[in-house]
Symmetry: C2
Subunit: 216 residues, 2 copies
Amino acid sequence: MNPLHNIILPEPTLRRLPWYLAYVEILRGKKVRHVSSTRISRALSVDASQIAKDLSFLGVKGRTRIGYEVDALATALSDFLGFSHSHKAYVIGAGSLGLALIRDSGLSNYGLEIVAGFDVNHSIIGHREEGVEIMHIDRIYETMATNPAEIAILTVPAEVAQESADIAVGAGIKAIWNFTPYRVKVAEGVVMANTSIYAHLALIYTRLHTLGNDNL
Amino acid sequence: MNPLHNIILPEPTLRRLPWYLAYVEILRGKKVRHVSSTRISRALSVDASQIAKDLSFLGVKGRTRIGYEVDALATALSDFLGFSHSHKAYVIGAGSLGLALIRDSGLSNYGLEIVAGFDVNHSIIGHREEGVEIMHIDRIYETMATNPAEIAILTVPAEVAQESADIAVGAGIKAIWNFTPYRVKVAEGVVMANTSIYAHLALIYTRLHTLGNDNL
């Protein structure tokens, strides 16, 4: 395991690193060999000194007048962010969003391998979606023994979000990726990430309306 | 239009409001008629005075010893967040994530109506997905005239993210919901929301590894 993972990175840095990776991958596709922090800065509107500081967390240093080597930087970022290794996950809640995530093959490019789905709805249990079996939630315990996962992707209705997270953690899940609008609580030591698509929708709607009024 | 939308809400408030709505909807399902900020506070681990302050932005006030009326609060939150009205959107990039979002019928419960998809891949152009036609991106201009949308959901590869956003805005789109890992820039006056699923994955992976090391 990478010893750099011992460092707890500040969240804003962690949010910027994927931007750098996306940009550097584009340069790599264009066969660009070196890039300066000034160039990254112009492309992404992030302060150049901030970029140098963020990248120093990875132990990556640019050379004066040459900058960063594009290939090495892309590899370092991808490794550091965990995208080059496979991380197994269950989808809890095989409704429309859960099934959509199982079908989204793009996630595997970012190291996410969904190995099973769980639900309580008998009309979906027993189905396979892109080779992923949907099982009754009661089978999560035995599945952890035969086909374990570290991450649970929570895509259940809000009213059973807490209960479902508790079951997943009880079965041995180490991280919850919460797509529900409910604010799930987990014990210390369990990783929690919220992807608040509803909050983002609300942000878009309210900002659109404000702009609309401003224009009146 | 709701005059309250003239207020630009602080983003942290906007992020908490959907949590309150999800909780209040659960209470409504259980036929609970009143709820105090203390009860919401306990359920969601948000300070009760913060809750009262957040809700006061909506013009909703609790009554002493009775609290908030559950039905009225749910309606006020849903209206305020824009979830009770339909907002039309295009999906730009009908790859696996784009198609997944078109198939996710749950988004319509939150006021999002996807009316068209755009791509440049001829193998997908002309197809219909859940009744939504996938067209060549060049047809976005004419589609804005016949079947307009305010929001563009950006699910293209990172290397064409900026270009695709520029085309959408050029066609008259007012808000970009960016699912790509690229940091897209838009002109002032265009609403921008980033749903950084890759950053959230990176957060989960790096935190998992840190925990793993701690346990050694």
